[in-house]
């Protein structure tokens, strides 16, 4: 079964109650490809810090991506309009920024 079929089936199973158009599926596939390719390419930027780190990060990313494959849909559900998710991610981001910048201080 090709990747397209896999994707289409996932999409249909998840949202089978309502109509799906070609546009939605093509948009989701585009999002999938953009996320995977750009993340992997962006990870290459770490080579300016350390090459071993780059290899490790890319391997981890590959495992993460392959283990949650229709990744754009999962992203989409997390990028929700609900206030709980928005505040949660805002505070999480604050925590990450402060701890990375302060304790990982360069």
């Amino acid at each position: 079964m090709s990747f397209y079929d896999y994707f289409l089936n996932y999409f249909k199973n998840r949202f089978s109650k309502n109509q799906i158009t070609n546009e939605n599926v093509s948009g989701a596939i585009l999002a999938e490809l953009v996320i995977i390719s750009s993340t992997l390419i962006a990870a290459l930027l770490l080579r300016h810090i350390s090459i071993v780190l780059t290899a490790v990060v890319i391997l981890i990313l590959l495992v993460l991506i392959l283990s949650n494959l229709p990744i754009s849909i999962k992203f989409f559900q997390e990028q929700d309009d609900s206030i709980e998710k928005m505040t949660f991610y805002a505070i999480l981001c604050l925590g990450i920024i402060v701890s990375l910048v302060y304790w990982g201080g360069l």
Binding site: F15, N18, Q19, I20, N24, F76, Q77, Q79, D80, D81, S82, I83, E84, T87, F88, I91
Partner: protein, 129 residues
């Protein structure tokens, strides 16, 4: 006892207020209580600013008649943070007023003050696909 210092204690209070406010922003469901919690963040930051200008054993930064200017300059608290906080308090109060007005409108519309009931809308795709 170095911990029993006025400035350190108030800095700690400010930090605790900010943490309480952030906690409220995540965990409290009732909108009015959430708004109260958010105003604690604002007040904690104000307290933090004021405590920066504090000088142990100093005087208030108002030059009274008969004071020696040099002595005053060495012993007064730093007045710039105090001037800033005045503005900040007013901004906080107006933000709070707008949020309360919005929550009143939303109560009229939905009949509830629970954030998870009135502020959670699925995105278009999740709704209709």
């Amino acid at each position: 006892m170095i911990l029993l210092d006025t400035q350190l204690l108030t800095l700690f209070t400010a930090g605790a207020l900010i943490v309480i406010g952030i906690f409220a922003a995540i965990y409290i469901d009732n909108i009015i209580k959430k708004i109260v919690g958010l105003s604690f963040i604002e007040e904690g930051v104000n307290l933090f600013i004021i405590s920066l200008g504090y000088k142990s054993g100093g005087v208030i930064p108002i030059l009274l008649p008969g004071m020696n200017i040099k002595w005053f300059a060495n012993n007064s608290a730093y007045p710039l943070p105090q001037a800033l906080v005045l503005t900040s308090i007013v901004i906080g109060a107006s933000t709070l007023a707008v949020m309360l007005a919005l929550s009143m409108v939303l109560y009229k519309k939905h009949g509830s003050l629970s954030a998870s009931k009135i502020l959670n809308h699925e995105s278009d795709m999740g709704d209709e696909l």
